[in-house]
Symmetry: C2
Amino acid sequence: MQIIITGGAGFLGQRLATALLTSSIGFEELVLVDVVLPNKPGPDERVVCQQADLTEAGVVQTLITARTGIVFHLAAIVSSHAEKDFDLGWIVNLDVTRQLLEACRQQQPGIRFVFASSLAVYGGALPAMVNETTALTPSSSYGTQKAIGELLVNDYTRKGFVDGRVLRLPTVCVRPGKPNLAASSFVSSIIREPINGETAICPVSEELPIWMASPDTIIQNFIWAATLNGANFGSCRTVNLPGIGPTVREMLDSLERLTDKATADRVQFQPDEAISRIVCSWPVAVDSTRALQLGFSVDDDFDGFIRQFRASSKA
Amino acid sequence: MQIIITGGAGFLGQRLATALLTSSIGFEELVLVDVVLPNKPGPDERVVCQQADLTEAGVVQTLITARTGIVFHLAAIVSSHAEKDFDLGWIVNLDVTRQLLEACRQQQPGIRFVFASSLAVYGGALPAMVNETTALTPSSSYGTQKAIGELLVNDYTRKGFVDGRVLRLPTVCVRPGKPNLAASSFVSSIIREPINGETAICPVSEELPIWMASPDTIIQNFIWAATLNGANFGSCRTVNLPGIGPTVREMLDSLERLTDKATADRVQFQPDEAISRIVCSWPVAVDSTRALQLGFSVDDDFDGFIRQFRASSKA
């Protein structure tokens, strides 16, 4: 059995690959595919790293084969990028997703298809607490494209063409490396940069709560999603992953507590209207009942996010 | 200004064209386009009938021009048909809709784009009453494709590329002519065929309520949608059109009252599991508050549906 991770060069793709190598999922091959050649996560000979542009004709169709058992579809044009480059967002976030589902259907019905969606599917006037019965009125092209991907995965699953699982990810924090074009990029920056001795810009109010999960918890939940019996999901395969919702202020208090005042003071507030508008359109409280009933994991508190980041930075 | 109706050979397309000719909307040209050559609704020289397959390369791109002011996008592969021919459903109901939106964007931002959606976007475990805040978990490919079309129209509208309006149509009853591949086709058959002296099959329980609107009311609401100021819709352009919800039994009682027992007795009950499953997944009660606040019209009672059908049959 072969596992494929699209977006395999990305942070979550790399972490997922590492975790899969020691997980209980048995497989012969783990393919990491991305537009840039993914790093090989250790010496395990089952890992194949492949540089490929999934938007090029025929690439998706040769990627999925009769050996494929699980696809983790993480590749995406992120929120601010999809808002700036409207056409590219639709090609990657809609067309590639659809082509992957279609390739799975053509190769063999029932491939497990784990789709990374986002709370950006929500938007507009939201109730105080959202759950899986809340209507999707996304206020970004990224959120629209993810909502459409969810509908596609569910319909392909209903028809028996794939065995889909859709995870709406909270903001993942703390990401290592550099800021990216996600509107939520600052959520990691305001912790990561100060710890690394650099200043960081916070473009939103310190009162804003952010719904988030740590990388370890997200990866654990990806693997859980892939191993769950499909029947457990009921008629809809979409799940809001659990998270916690500290405010920016509470995050910085935690940072100061676990480091020192000088570190926390490296965060400067410079309101950015475009980013604030996108981030404020996301739900601040998400009902995780369904996810917890399905056995998905949740973080304890924000201090744990910082400890996890420092531990993995040293690793 | 030019108006385009896709699905212009269909029942609603033809009725809409006739109504537009005497409406308050000023225009120079009304294009009816369909895979079969649409009939010309009367001698008005502003009407152009065009046979074209919108799925063929380049057709949509030449259809929309700088003269286009309003597009009524009614063309679709209907529910049972889309369930049987999965690929065709996606090509017509998703790809053509997307290409039309893209062609509008390329020609001139702000073309009014009226999209006919359906209550089939709802499905699964529904609350007793659905409204525009209810999550879409369609249980058919047709419903999935319409839900995706809604998301597309809303995102293109948000970006300012079109001025979209999305109408979720109740079942339209009584349609003239022959049964079609819509799962709801029987709703018209059980009235139309008996009145025409023919027997009709009812594939669902007589206790089942059907949410419906008459053709005259639907056409009135299409025109209203096209003339409304976009700002009135708020941040979401999707509206559940008003309807009434008689049971099959109440419809047949009405038929007997307005004709005679022999006519109503021409309906035979032969349960069809596939059709029942689709129809039972649709909501039975729809909150029309938003539509009524926006000024859309609603039918009085089912007797009026029968009178309207008999009057238009004689016309």
